[in-house]
Symmetry: D2
Subunit: 366 residues, 4 copies
């Protein structure tokens, strides 16, 4: 393999942190340095670091031992450079930030910018590409909702954590004859609730893609009771919607929520179940625990695979792409195809039928 004239790339992580970021960083940088002889510029705290010029030359030894570590050694932020800051009238600040990014990109003599992030990150990546920069994206998120890839790294680690939590609640539910409601992440996509719900043996799974009726939930719990199962586990995605809510506009939903006192969806579901059935019901919100800790072996493998594939794209100068997994193969898809889309659970996804077959209820009366 003939080596190209030495290239330099910047690398940053953006959006919520998730397991596997460091493994992916390691994959990109090890392959890019040792295999292709490139130079690595590490950018701190996502796009914010690129705006502020917070960047430095790195050596593979800076990535020693990070394969197993949670978080991101580069730091991250939720900075969205194309979005005006709250309170600003127009996009002036936005353009100022984008200009700073472009300026720093050139000052740092980057041939390409490698970004690791979720939907927001890739939207920005696409806009930067249109603004003339070379960009390569890697799909990370515990939500698994990035369009174009079968799976994102971080997702399976979160599934592991949520499943372990459900396992723990099982013993408490059983000991006390209780309904235990567990709320997991997923505003618009129910992947995490679906996977962890099946893996944890959840009796009811509520996801944003399948609106639920309380009546069906109640019926399912009572049928279980009649069969001698005095406890139940209910797995709720934070963005789950009742049929009623699903017919409302976003504004109406917001208003309704303000009126109710439930901090989150899990609390609401727990309250309604207890009221309707008289069963003792408790709620657990998993929250930030889903993001942290060492990545699972699956995610280390996937992140390493994505990372080395990104290095190859760098080498080939094949910019403007996001690496993705499709049918077991790593491919590269144009950023333009990814931006502004969301991968939600299709109602006919085979896992939904799998779950129903073992007796799980989605609150929709099927």
């Amino acid at each position: 393999m003939k080596r190209p004239a030495t290239r330099t790339f910047g690398i940053l992580t953006s959006g919520g942190d998730c397991p596997g970021l460091n493994a992916a960083i390691r994959g990109v940088t090890k392959a890019a340095y040792w295999r292709y002889g490139m130079s690595i510029i590490g950018i701190s705290h996502g796009y914010r670091g690129l705006i502020e010029g917070d960047a430095r030359l790195l050596h593979p030894r800076d990535f020693d031992g990070i394969l197993t570590r949670g978080g991101t050694i580069l730091g991250t932020s939720r900075e969205k450079p194309f979005k005006p800051d709250p309170g600003e009238k127009d996009s002036e600040a936005g353009s100022r930030k984008v200009e700073a990014i472009i300026e720093n990109y050139h000052k740092l003599h980057l041939d390409c910018l490698v970004v690791l992030g979720g939907n927001g990150t890739h939207k920005t990546a696409y806009l930067l590409q249109q603004a003339g920069l070379n960009v390569i994206g890697l799909p990370k998120t515990i939500d698994n909702d990035i369009w174009g890839t079968d799976v994102t790294f971080g997702f399976h680690s979160a599934v592991d954590i949520a499943t372990e939590a459900i396992d723990r609640l099982h013993s408490t539910a059983h000991a006390h004859n209780r309904v235990m409601v567990i709320e997991v992440m997923g505003h618009k996509a129910g992947w995490l609730a679906l996977y962890a719900g099946i893996a944890g043996g959840g009796d009811i799974i509520l996801i944003p893609e399948i609106p639920y009726d309380l009546a069906h939930i109640v019926h399912h719990l009572q049928t279980r009771q009649q069969r001698g199962k005095e406890f139940s586990i209910v797995v709720v995605a934070e963005g789950a919607l009742s049929r009623e809510e699903s017919l409302m506009s976003k504004e109406e939903r917001k208003k309704r929520r303000k009126k109710n006192r439930f901090p989150t969806k899990g609390y609401e579901v727990a309250h309604l179940i207890q009221e309707a059935t008289g069963m003792e019901t408790r709620v657990t919100v998993l929250g930030y625990l889903q993001r942290g800790g060492t990545p699972s072996p699956y995610d280390r493998l996937l992140a390493t695979r994505f990372g080395t594939a990104a290095a190859e794209l760098l080498y080939r100068g094949d910019y403007g792409k996001m690496v993705a997994l499709r049918d077991g193969e790593v491919v590269a898809i144009p950023l333009g195809e990814v931006a502004e889309k969301l991968k939600t659970v299709p109602p006919d996804h085979p896992l939904i039928d799998t779950a129903r077959a073992v007796g799980t209820c989605f609150g929709d009366g099927v």
Copy 2:
């Protein structure tokens, strides 16, 4: 060893479930059956089962494979037979329940009742003993707040779970430069927060026994920032009190809390920190996750030890006692010494100085 005329004992688990209950049940029953030839009556769902006569003869094979399981195969409840039900004017119901217990105790031909539980359970046990029953208690609780024993089973499993949660939050805190507040159980005793806080490397630990001032917390966070530590972990016992609150009556505190909108103490602390420091602050409430799952090896050992010691008390007819660990040895202490007391963290406990020595702040300005 000469075997006594066969004895029969009832066994029940009462109060919140916690890891190690099954291990303790196994310890009592295996030793009582095989070593001492006793008969075992399993009572369902705590004192409620004894009131309702929900009990059956068990064989050691019913306890196969339970050493590692969370929860309790006997089921539990928070039934307090001596307490009138809400709405009842006097203790009529209470006496009715107690009478039912005494009646069933004799109907089942019990020589002794073995109860596994926390403070409430042992208070009831003491009252039953005074009412003429033979009772032996085993101290379980994740709070470690039972007077008379150095440690309860369930505690170290909860410490493990809470510490693992703190470990996970560390990576998120670090990646985002955030203050992560984690609320753990402990209404009146801060053992769990103290142990998990030190084991997890918490920067600030707030426990009921040491009233905190926000000013000291803020100062500590800012000092860390000046030393380049942009993130911090704050471990809060659910019953932590500010100095102000610590001077209030229980009623005043309740009123104050109603006025504020914070669902729990962790939320309040997080809100105040963010407001006072401007640092991005997030809260995680560990909740029921602390109760569930397989007991840690430490708790399996301790529960087995307590269980076999209880069997020996049964054999010797040494009733009216709770088994306990003191300076590494299992001893038996009179129920009367345990009831109505609470073991909280003494302000001069050596672990508090240990924590301070590695830089942990308790919010008290020391």
Copy 3:
């Protein structure tokens, strides 16, 4: 959905146990009973139970709580009914056993036999099908070497366990500046070594499919040393072969092994490395630890999916098939296509290039 005239199926687990067997049993039986109204006959200890008529009618409640449990509640054995017992001259015993199986199949009024197992199990299943029985297979094995499916359940749990072990060895290797050799399962297929090797950051991975030269291994270790890495992790599949061995006949290899004193391949590799490099080298054989314990969420999902798919095949009367995963979808493939084949790691598998890209050596000088 119209229910068929009630069907009855037998279910057995055969071959080495692995995580996910119980989850798959639960999937088949729950779906078959509740969705399709079938009757379930549980057969003990694999084909041996069918030979001996060790079987009984089961109810879904017999499968309560088994989703998370390792092992198999049905028990297993390595009985191969078509193979004569050692010492027998011809296949008389074989035919006797097969006749007993056929007889018991009819005595139990089975409409189909569901077998959960690996390559040997499916070979037998195919022969039984040819002998006139209806059979459906589910692919389990930690080796992932069953032809026709992208992945088997049990594999990812074993990857998790092996990776965790490698993580542990890392700290010891680092503290002592040692070469740590870890031997994992895989006689003919190197999937487990490959996956765990990458996920654990192994520096050298030796698998049966890529013959190794000691010289390349030594060179790689010394290069690492020159870069300041004083320790290394070597992941060895138990069936790894040196280039020399790969050119020998099976008999020659056996003879050679007898002459050497190494209990297993890992010991040999460790010895040769220490001798050739002078580096302190230690070996760990993971052994049975790879089979046990609770299945990973991934395997619970996959096993549940395979189980419910098998129930659907039962319902449709679509016999003579093994359920399989291909490109993310569950399909059914004829037993005849599976039997006698083995799925090994193709030398051009993308993960091998991924591993090389992050600096892993396969001992082949590439």
Copy 4:
């Protein structure tokens, strides 16, 4: 608190690595630096680093994030400076090394040397103290065999790992109706086998302190079989001895072992059981897995406690001591009391009776 004139201490880790070393290092250094204003010299790879002068000034920030990490950031070695190297006629090399240590101790202007290690380390520490150096010791070892302290850090982490391994073997044992032998560390002391054996529900536990007879083991396994328990778990300390062996001299034992082909004690026990009972028996040697990985919360607490106590000894100039835990309190005991002693399991240790009470056999016919 009045600060002393700034002191400087060197710190090293020696002997086999174990979980909690980094936590203890962090405890000493954080407390010594922030609380007492001392200077820290980190010495690489145990006493070898002190011989070679491999040392450097450290700052608390060098210890950031190490609380949870396995291994030791200082590196370790098994260097015993007072022992002549193999092949040397007299102790010339020994004295040369000791002289180098003394020379470097003064060159580095150390006021004290803090050593973290096991029995060998503390023996050396005592000799160095007698040679005029100030030394403070911290007891680490997974074997828990250091005289003078109730427990060492590293021990409970190893118990956790070994127990988890036993849990895994349980499912395999059960699925196959097998006897599973697991060998854990412990040449002279059986603490680890005893603790993990009870916590894991081992049916037979063999430790060096209680010589075993095969006949009793066989009897116990057969009794279990008669009660319908077709599988058993046998936990063997690597230094377990049969009654016959216990009566031999060390030389005789060595000779006998050479004659037999068993690589380790676990293999021998497994072989003899299978031969004597006809039960299928398998062996697992846990090996280096017991040393690695993140320390358990218990060990992090204990190591932190020992570390900060050592810092206080440094501050008080209270040299020549090892920190220790006695009846829950941290104390300091003279090195001279510790050296040359070994803490083994007393035959009347209460845990042995606990184990017997739940049906565990120690192979001694009690």
